[in-house]
């Protein structure tokens, strides 16, 4: 874990949190934040698409089904825990559940860079799993909220538009498609921009996310100890579910670690935007603080090495039987 802490990406996040907590005047211009997030989402999709073009894509079917299953089960379990153990209101529980079932593309990028550094290979199609996991949990969260509180009409058209054509899903999907269609050879001229510079851009983005997360960390006192415990316990549980899904559907140890991290990560771009529209009664402070103030930092610092460890253990045990 100490080794992970010294990754410049993680150190940048820590520096961002420190900048926020010490109230320096560091503030990324909004346009830069936007630019970096567009670049990262597109590059993640694009790189995944190029890798996909070199793989036999029929192998993705089993893991894809497992991922979809995890995406539907995790929000249901989250909802039950938040309602039964946390005594949360139905709409708050539903909105938080959607965040925990959905994914954080940045956490995905960090786990890939982590495995890359350790020299652990993962399947070429893992980006497809990221895209698959993004949407179902948001839909489950919306349905859970509607079942518990049926007051007021929902404007489905703009809502579905936000869910399926929100920038994160669109950028990932279009990047994936472009990379897959173009293939490695045709993509070679843009390699410096999308491959070589990627990690540097990720570092800058995490510096900014650190300052944003630090403001959420200040809200922890308002949201209470249960949410803090949930923000750490839930990703570990989801990570275990993802580890099982990865192992059972035949992923390599590296691929299993990626799927476990995807399941453990909580969305903070697509899900908040959709929940604000779909479940307006849910308190944004709760889901943003849990997802961005607790789970995101936890995953970066301790979660990713933990999920990798889980994946290794499962494959070792599986190999012995």
């Amino acid at each position: 874990m100490l080794e992970n802490l010294l990754d410049p990406v993680v150190l940048c996040f820590v520096a961002g949190v420190a900048a926020g907590l010490s109230r320096t005047d560091l503030k990324f211009p909004e346009a830069l934040y936007e630019t970096l997030s567009i670049y990262l989402l597109f590059a993640i999709g694009f790189k995944g698409g190029i890798q996909l073009s070199e793989s036999e894509w029929t192998r993705v079917i089993g893991p894809a089904a497992g991922t979809l299953g995890a995406g539907l089960v995790i929000p249901l379990i989250s909802y039950w825990i938040l309602r039964a153990l946390g005594a949360m209101k139905p709409h708050d529980a539903a909105a938080i559940a959607a965040h925990y079932g959905s994914v954080s593309a940045v956490t995905f990028a960090v786990v890939l860079s982590y495995l890359n550094r350790l020299g652990v290979p993962a399947e070429e199609f893992v980006t497809v799993l990221l895209v698959i996991l993004e949407v179902p949990a948001i839909m489950v969260g919306i349905l859970l909220a509607r079942l518990s509180d049926n007051s007021g009409p929902v404007r489905w058209k703009p809502l579905l538009h936000e869910v399926f054509f929100g920038k994160s899903v669109y950028l990932l999907l279009s990047g994936l498609l472009i990379g897959w269609l173009a293939g490695a050879e045709r993509a070679a001229p843009v390699k410096p921009l999308f491959f070589d510079l990627f990690k540097g851009a990720l570092m800058l983005f995490l510096l900014e996310m650190g300052t944003v997360a630090s403001r959420r960390i200040r809200d922890l006192a308002k949201t209470g100890w249960f949410l803090t415990a949930f923000g750490i316990g839930m990703p570990v549980l989801s990570g275990a579910i993802g580890t099982a899904a990865g192992y059972l559907t035949g992923l390599s140890p590296g691929g299993t670690a990626v799927l476990a991290t995807l399941c453990a990560s909580a969305s903070y771009i697509a899900a908040p935007a959709a929940m604000r529209i779909a479940v307006p009664k849910a308190n944004p402070t709760l889901y943003l603080t849990a997802s961005l103030g607790i789970t995101f930092p936890f995953n970066l610092v301790a979660g990713i090495p933990l999920y990798h460890w889980m994946a290794q253990r499962v494959h070792e045990w599986g190999g012995k039987i």
């Binding site: 503030k27 990324f28 909004e30 934040y33 404007r155 703009p158 900014e208 944003v212 903070y268 771009i269 908040p272 935007a273 604000r276 529209i277 307006p280 009664k281 944004p284 402070t285 943003l288």
Partner: protein, 102 residues
């Protein structure tokens, strides 16, 4: 000098997530044009510094007749006041082409 006619200026400051809904409502009520821009500020629903996407505000301004201004304000209050950060205020303005602002 051209003659000036009294109209209402409706200013809506709201969280950006409901901007598309508000615009749709304005169109449905016969508003032909509006001006909008991103805004920053602080209010009873907290600090909206506008530094990342869940934290943005928008300012929308419409010039229209008294009766349209009333209708819009009522509609917006019914639909959004309870669950979203929103401030609406109305002021008097004078325009030179009243037919544009009904």
């Amino acid at each position: 000098m051209r003659e000036r006619t009294k109209r209402k200026l409706l200013s809506i400051i709201a969280e950006s997530s409901i901007e598309p809904f508000i615009i749709e409502d304005l169109r449905a009520m016969g508003v032909k044009g509006y001006t909008s821009w991103e805004a920053r500020g602080e209010g009873e629903r907290g600090d909206r510094a506008g530094d990342w996407e869940q934290n943005r505000n928008v300012m929308i301004q419409v010039v229209c007749s008294d009766s349209t201004a009333d209708k819009i304000a009522e509609r917006l209050f019914d639909a959004y006041q309870q669950d979203y950060a929103m401030v609406v205020h109305v002021s008097d303005v004078e325009v030179m082409r009243p037919q544009k602002f009904t």
